[in-house]
């Protein structure tokens, strides 16, 4: 409900207006991104999680909800050890997914800036 006055922006995700461009861009490189069933194995096994709260599951979820900044923050501690790829029951190449995301992250802002 929007009443025209509030102190903080609504935390609700409006799926009508969510910006999925980064998600779609990543999915074009890593189609397996779409088959994540959010089991949490990757997050549980993550070597970086104790230091940064890194979670591939959350990164994917954030992208699906259009929350790019939150996704990026979590990636900053990934050590590419590959454990998440080892445990993923759907066989997603999470390690390359992270690399691809790090690579395309920010390119959109740059392109829009131009």
């Amino acid at each position: 409900m929007e009443f025209g006055f509030k102190l903080s922006p609504s935390s609700a995700v409006n799926l009508d207006q969510v910006d999925l461009s980064l998600y779609e861009r990543l999915a074009a490189i890593e189609p397996d991104l779409r088959i994540c069933m959010a089991c949490g194995s990757c997050s549980a096994t993550c070597t970086a999680a104790p230091f940064t709260g890194m979670s591939v599951r959350k990164v994917i979820l954030d992208l699906q909800r259009g929350k790019e900044k939150e996704a990026a923050k979590m990636l900053s501690g990934c050590m590419l050890c590959g454990k998440c790829t080892m445990v993923c029951p759907r066989g997603i190449n999470t390690r390359h997914l992270i690399l691809s995301l790090c690579r395309i992250y920010g390119t959109k802002a740059k392109e829009e800036g131009k």
């Binding site: 397996d32 990026a72 900053s76 050590m79 590419l80 080892m86 390690r95 995301l101 790090c102 740059k110």
Partner: protein, 602 residues
């Protein structure tokens, strides 16, 4: 032997002269280009190595043995070795002997560079009796021409039936490669014809004199002489003109590569400098295609090292990226390569060239301190947390040996940094190296034990841990058995050992794990093994190979491992263990696990 043509010149030498000037010019351009692309420090190092007598002698020796005699190839495949050395060394000897002939008989023609190549056209047999020198030279010339021709004949057979030569797959030559190939094939038969038609004037050895006699039986006149000399010269010209743009560039390039390698240069860039010399040196033989573990699937054939080189030469950026990211970095192509081309390092350099929108930073990480007060620290590593039988067995063996030890990353720790290295993320890897080094130093241990070869390789090569011995379980446990710290009861299980890439090719450890297995039971070998062992397919080296794409590689490796009918497959890497366990039809065990089962207090 006397001059027959007063001017010592004939227009048919022009094509040859043109080709020679072109190819020498291009090589000069290549050398200057490579030198300029080297870093200042590398250039200095390289140039200094050229005047250092030790390396200079090594350079000459290596060039002679590898470029001309192809010693490495002989060891691998004698027929291919003969084919290559017959053409290379035979041709080299023809050129050398040609010069000797000019020097001996017409020394005033030394400045006319075409003389040694077309010697027989420009001379006639002298009026006096034949000299011993002349006869010997003619015999030698004919002998080496025959040697080269036999090599060419083999090359033609190989083109049609490469399987006879033990090669399952070879590269498809490009158009220019074909031009180069056919002109190379043409050169020597044309020389044989030209000299054959001329032998009644110039004289000749056991090959061309009878040939001349045959020719003259039914081709009485001398009309055939000039056209064949022209054809010979044109074939030479075509070959030399296309050479820089074909696989034959390896002939001059390898003479550059060998001194650069002997100078100790390392690959630092995916295109420039040392890499350029390597890429040019690739003869496109395709040995790496059969060696590559990915080649079990046809779709991966064009992702092998030979195609990486080809695409680097063509500047196909998209394919270079794809090929670089797909590779498992198992290092087998480097192992089998005749020129020692370092495909994995070129790929890592390529990965390192990328820019990322998001760069990791671990400097704010505060890992738990490593336990202090123990002489021996065991770093299990990330992967071993998924293979608890290894860590449990390592702990049990260390307890039996009565050692004062502790596990360093019990509640998880930092990654060793090797996976980042393979992804080309050097800056990030160095941060982890620094952090882990501090933890280890602060613990006061004197030995760091690793059961994971991925960790082992980087700890050994990149960490600077003064006073701390970095050791893999394979080495350490073998010592424990040798020194009697462990008592081993031999069982009757037959093991085959799979050499993990990072432990074998990566770190040169082959014998220790085999000795452990020999004590624990019976060791059976499988082919290929040791330095040519087949990657399990699980390697972290590949960035883009998905889970499903790796299955065939794993099954292929397993097929070879189990050919000798072992009861169990032994390995010494948690990643190989996990990968093989998925598809193996028999037990897959780590050497620590095996040793734990058969050992007791010493």
């Amino acid at each position: 032997m006397i001059d027959r043509v007063a001017s010592g010149f004939h227009p048919f030498v022009l094509p040859f002269l043109f080709g020679m000037i072109f190819v020498l010019g291009y090589c000069l351009y290549g050398i200057v280009k490579i030198l300029l692309q080297l870093s200042h420090e590398d250039r200095r190092r390289f140039l200094l190595s050229l005047i250092n007598p030790v390396t200079a002698w090594k350079n000459i020796k290596d060039i002679f043995l590898n470029c001309l005699l192809h010693v490495k190839l002989w060891k691998r495949n004698p027929v291919l070795g003969y084919m290559h050395s017959s053409i290379a060394f035979g041709w080299f000897m023809l050129i050398v002997l040609g010069h000797i002939e000019v020097m001996l008989f017409v020394p005033h023609r030394m400045r006319q560079v075409w003389y040694p190549i077309f010697f027989n056209y420009f001379v006639a047999e002298g009026p006096g009796p034949a000299t011993v020198q002349g006869a010997l030279l003619f015999t030698l010339m004919d002998f080496f021409l025959l040697v080269v021709l036999s090599g060419i004949a083999l090359a033609m057979i190989k083109r049609v039936r490469s399987r006879i030569f033990g090669m399952r797959r070879t590269t498809r030559p490009s158009f220019l490669d074909r031009v180069g190939l056919y002109s190379l094939w043409a050169i020597f038969p044309l020389r044989l014809l030209a000299e054959g038609f001329t032998a009644h004037i110039s004289g000749g050895g056991f090959l061309i004199t009878p040939l001349n006699w045959v020719f003259r039986q039914f081709l009485g006149d001398q009309l055939h002489m000039l056209p064949t000399w022209w054809a010979y010269s044109i074939a030479l010209c075509i070959f030399m003109c296309v050479l820089p743009f074909t696989r034959y560039m390896h002939i001059p390039a390898e003479m550059m590569l060998i001194p650069m390698r002997n100078a100790g240069l390392k690959i630092k860039h995916a295109r420039r400098g040392f890499t350029r010399a390597m890429v040019w040196s690739c003869p496109n033989c395709g040995v790496c295609i059969d060696a590559c573990p990915m080649s079990v699937k046809k779709i991966n054939l064009k992702d092998t090292t030979v195609y990486l080189n080809r695409n680097i030469r063509r500047g196909n950026e998209e394919r270079i990226e794809q090929i670089s990211d797909k590779c498992l970095l198992c290092g087998k192509c480097r192992e089998v390569c005749q020129i020692g081309l370092d495909g994995p390092s070129i790929r890592i350099a390529q990965r390192a060239m990328r820019s990322y929108g998001l760069n990791q930073d671990y400097t704010s990480f505060r890992p738990a301190p490593a336990p202090a007060g123990h002489k021996l620290l065991y770093f299990a590593g990330c992967m071993t947390q998924l293979t608890p039988r290894i860590s449990k067995a390592v702990g049990s063996v260390l307890d039996k040996a009565g050692l004062d030890w502790e596990i360093m990353d019990k509640d998880g720790g930092l990654c060793c940094g090797r996976p980042l290295m393979t992804a080309g993320r050097f800056v990030q890897a160095k941060q982890l190296i620094r952090q882990n080094s501090e933890l280890i130093r602060a613990s006061g241990c004197d030995t760091l034990l690793l059961s994971c070869p991925i960790c082992y390789k980087i700890f050994k090569e990149r960490y600077k841990l003064e006073g701390v011995r970095v050791v893999h379980t394979a080495e350490f446990f073998e010592e424990l058995i040798q020194t009697g710290a462990l008592h081993v009861e031999k069982g009757d299980i037959r093991y085959v050992f799979h050499d993990p890439c990072e432990l074998g090719r990566g770190s040169g450890i082959y014998e220790q794990p085999r000795r452990i297995l020999g004590r624990a039971g019976y060791l059976v070998e499988s082919e290929p093994n040791r330095a040519e062992s087949i990657c399990c397919g699980g390697s972290l080296g590949s960035l883009t190979l998905g889970f499903a794409q790796r299955e065939d590689m794993t099954r292929n490796a397993l097929k070879h491992l189990t050919e000798g009918g072992p009861d169990a497959i032994a390995t010494a890497c948690p990643l190989c263990l996990a990968t093989f366990s998925r598809y193996a039809d028999r037990a897959v065990q780590d050497i620590a696990e095996i040793l734990d089962r058969v050992s007791s207090k010493g």
